[in-house]
Amino acid sequence: MTGLRLIVVEDESLVALMMEDMLADLGCQVVGSFGGLAAAFAWLEGGAEPPDGAILDVNLGGEMVFPLAQALSERQVPFAFATGYGAISDERFAAAPLMRKPVSEADLLQALQRFRAAALSLPPGGR
């Protein structure tokens, strides 16, 4: 998974720290780590190069991550949800990959493989 550029959106900084470490251990580069929608949108819309994938906590201190998931979809950025809850409540994303918290390395690897596959299937010139 070396070289994948990823963002992490997670409101609990302790959990985010661990996710960042797990991703770094797997050879990924965490280019952004955000605790809420506002910070993530500011980064995404601030002209940063779109990442190769995103790990999204579903409930960010009461606000749902779905608007960001939608914005990522529009930019063809693949993502995976990480949640302590059951199924995804927003049916637009019912089919999106879902990782249970605490996230296991096996689940994370599977998500990263999808990100890699999506990156390879992009037309020359990228997103």
Binding site: V15, L17, D21, N59
Partner: protein, 379 residues
Amino acid sequence: MSSAAAPLAAPGSDPLFTLVETIEELSAARTVEEVAAVVRSAARRISGADGIAFVLRDDDMCWYLDEDAIGPLWKGRRFPLTACISGWAMLNRQTVVAPDIYQDPRIPHDAYRPTFVKSLVMTPVRPHDPLAAIGAYWAVERTPTEDEIIKLQVMARATATALENARMYASLNETLARRKFLLRELDHRCKNMLASVHSIADQTLRKSATPRDFVEAFTGRLGAMSRAHELLTRGEWGRAALLEVLSAALEPFGGIDGRRIRADGPAVALSPETAVAFHMTVHELAVNAVRHGALAGESGTVEIEWSVDMAQPRRALAFGWRERGGRPPASDPQRKGFGLRLLEGGLARDLGGEARLLFDPRGVEFSLEAPLSDRIALA
């Protein structure tokens, strides 16, 4: 077949039957609106009046909740108890009978001139402590029969029970909803806490040279988390005061004693999540101070200060931790451990602010600047 000749009147035409039916309907009503709907239609049928108003007491106001009449009355309006006849009936706990309202000085005639009303009966609901009133109005001057007055009073009694039921139902539903909410919250927090403990274990293990190191650091961090939660449980998972959080976090390190550890700042309230994050941050600072900083020797001090600059358009909390008089700190470590990363990235990240850790030769300094929000507010 005339109704007078019938041995049993058809349901709906016999006034007694109507009254019984109404009492049944009232006992099945579950909301104040349902009660009002029953009263409105039934009271008119039972009394034969040209109009009915159902008036709720709302502190020192009469609230004309609902009406059914041949012309508009005062539906939806509120008047002071002392300025209308329903208020008089409730305040004096008596039924008012006015065969000619314009001869009755208790009645505010101006309010009645635009209406059809010429005579009325107004009876309080639950006479010992009225919570509503039922008004029956006629378009002609007339003295109501004893029978009409009694029927209205019977209805008022049934209405009192129905209103009390409706209120009990509402409070029961509220309690149930609150319980459901709390269970969901608890579930969410449990999962978050387990995830946090998982993270702490993972992080602590990464930087521990020996199992003993791991146990010591891990136990300390787990203890800090547990004390943070204790504080929150005591406050029923509402907001926690920053000073309280600091006191709890520093207690294992000698506490805020005003000598070695001083803390000063305005009252600031933290959301539960932020309180835990603050607690963990201060714990890491204190552990570091005891190991390598101002609290390692006998003479060092820690000065904690915070303020909110009211002049700024975007109000922010400025929080500072300053160590003095201890050993000079080691320079900025190359390999950042969990504590350092938490200090630099934890709270600030959560709050959308900025944190700086400075290894000043005079002592470690930590500063955090975070905009006020629903997570962090002046109390």
